[in-house]
Symmetry: C2
Subunit: 327 residues, 2 copies
């Protein structure tokens, strides 16, 4: 009777909220509305201090930047054409220095200048911890990506490597796992940049649209990997009722990424990579892989229970770290 949110966990909470939300909107990264005969995408994300960001490893301007990137990444993973506008709900303790707020807005501004969209309004209030609630609105392009549109026979493709943001966080927080290890400077620099200034996969989406083979339907299953690569694939499996098969040799490791279980784990579960994770016909996948340099084929979809296995048949369990436990 008196279940708490922690006891339920995020997936069950979302399940129970389904009756309150217009049909079909809770399964995807964004909602879709059609106010005036044209489709708009709308997405709300909440970023909470201590859960989605730490002021120890993330400057205020990087928090602002990331808030925008997170949100636009969801819009990209649904097929946004043009980002229109953003509203910002800001909550912060009364003793927060003004400079922190200004820097956070500066970070948002820089991201919007690069990716499109105007900050048009919002609200602010004091509260016990810092928090940004961002709503972004964009127009829908020709390809509406849905988590539920994966099909058996599809190829699984990502728009880029995974794990870099997690490595960046480890470097910034002086995690002995990485400080005790000789890593190439180029890899370290890239990882820190990926963590501090992640990019939403808007360019990947544009390329994906452009390289659709002629005569083929506009059908791609898709989501973004903000909560980790495996979490993204699991969402595709659950929403589409398909099974994903991955190849250990084809994990989307970054260039110069070390080998080993621990590093593979960061690649699969690190999170905050903000890449597209796509399930699509082989022919379209091939066209995309040829055109978009950082993209990778990582596996296939087949009929079966909604789970992820290696090509050996062994089931892959998702490791959920505390960082991605939202309740």
């Amino acid at each position: 009777m008196h279940e708490t949110l922690a006891q339920l966990g995020e997936r069950e909470i979302l399940n129970r909220l389904k009756p309150f939300v217009a049909v079909g909107q809770i399964d995807d990264d964004t909602a879709q509305i059609n106010p005036l005969g044209r489709e708009l995408l709308i997405n709300t994300d909440v970023l909470v201090e201590g859960i989605h960001f730490s002021t120890k490893t993330t400057s205020a301007s990087d928090v602002g930047w990331r808030a925008i990137s997170t949100n636009l990444s969801d819009l990209a993973a649904s097929g946004v054409d043009q980002v229109l506008c953003i509203t910002v709900g800001l909550v912060a303790p009364s003793n927060t220095p003004w400079q922190w707020v200004e820097n956070a807005y500066q970070g948002m501004k820089e991201a919007l200048e690069l990716f499109g969209g105007e900050l048009v309004g919002g609200d602010c209030s004091r509260g016990q911890q810092k928090l940004l609630a961002i709503t972004a609105i964009g127009t829908l392009g020709p390809l509406r990506l849905h988590r539920s549109k994966a099909q058996p026979g599809d190829w699984l493709v990502t728009s880029g490597p995974h794990g870099l943001s997690r490595l960046g966080l480890a470097l910034l927080s002086s995690d002995p796992k990485v400080t005790n290890k000789q890593l190439p400077l180029k890899l370290k620099t890239k990882a820190i940049k990926c963590h501090q200034r992640p990019q939403p996969p808007l360019q990947a989406l544009k390329t994906l649209q452009k390289c659709k083979p002629r005569g083929m339907q506009w059908r791609v299953g898709g989501t973004d990997s903000s909560d980790g690569l495996l979490a993204a694939i699991e969402n595709l499996c659950l929403c589409s009722g398909c099974q994903a098969v991955l190849y250990p040799s084809e994990l989307p490791r970054a260039e110069q990424w070390p080998l080993g279980t621990h590093w593979d784990n960061w690649c699969m579960n690190g999170g905050e990579d903000f890449e597209l994770v796509l399930s699509m016909p082989k022919e379209w996948a091939n066209a995309f892989l040829k055109t978009f340099p950082s993209s990778r084929a990582i596996g296939t979809m087949k009929a079966g229970p909604p789970e992820i296995t290696w090509n050996s048949g062994k089931r892959i369990e998702i490791s959920k770290t505390e960082e991605f436990k939202h309740f």
Copy 2:
């Protein structure tokens, strides 16, 4: 150099955020975008436990209801035609009972069923205190209300009485100021209802639109009185550069409202009344006053410094209670 948000206060914070926000959007209750050749209104509100609501006096379903009413009241105060959709960012501590969340969503659902608009999506996360960040989108009707559109010579009109919500709060929290006083049952019942289930002034807006005298321009200065009647009038004065003159006998007191300084103060500064506060030509005002029974003429606007005076010339100071201090 190291000013905190508390030192600045809400007005100065908003002033400093202006350079980050698209021109003209921070002065009004809502933002306006024109994505597809038609105007949309968009509004984000954050409701924080302990600041905007107390779980002692407000049930979860009333919190949900109020979150919607607050937001739609802002849309009404900008001239919404049809409420399209809502997204909800929910933050709550891990130990929050599921029942609280379900009831909050139930309250939102009931309000949306009555006032229009669909809940289409959102986000949820744990956090140290309960919080709802709501974004509502609607289409703009023929009359765009702006805080900056008041003019000298206008009549000041409200769509209904003020102070009831504050009285309701006092009754619910057993404030000795009201428990020691004989109050009519009808007034008490109405006050509690106003506090628990406030109504956005959508009907008042529709009537206002309908009774515009023929040939007159669509020009009304307006806002809502969510932060109190005087705060609303002050915003009209500041944004329009006019002076407001009020008549003590014409304060918009509710039926059977007691006389006295303390009661007048609740009427002027109680807050959360969610009525329209309008500055408009006399002819239009008269038509509205005749057609909309609860509406009241409370004063006039004149050229002068942006402040509020009694008709005696004495300046009226706004009393800001802790409840409406957002920083």
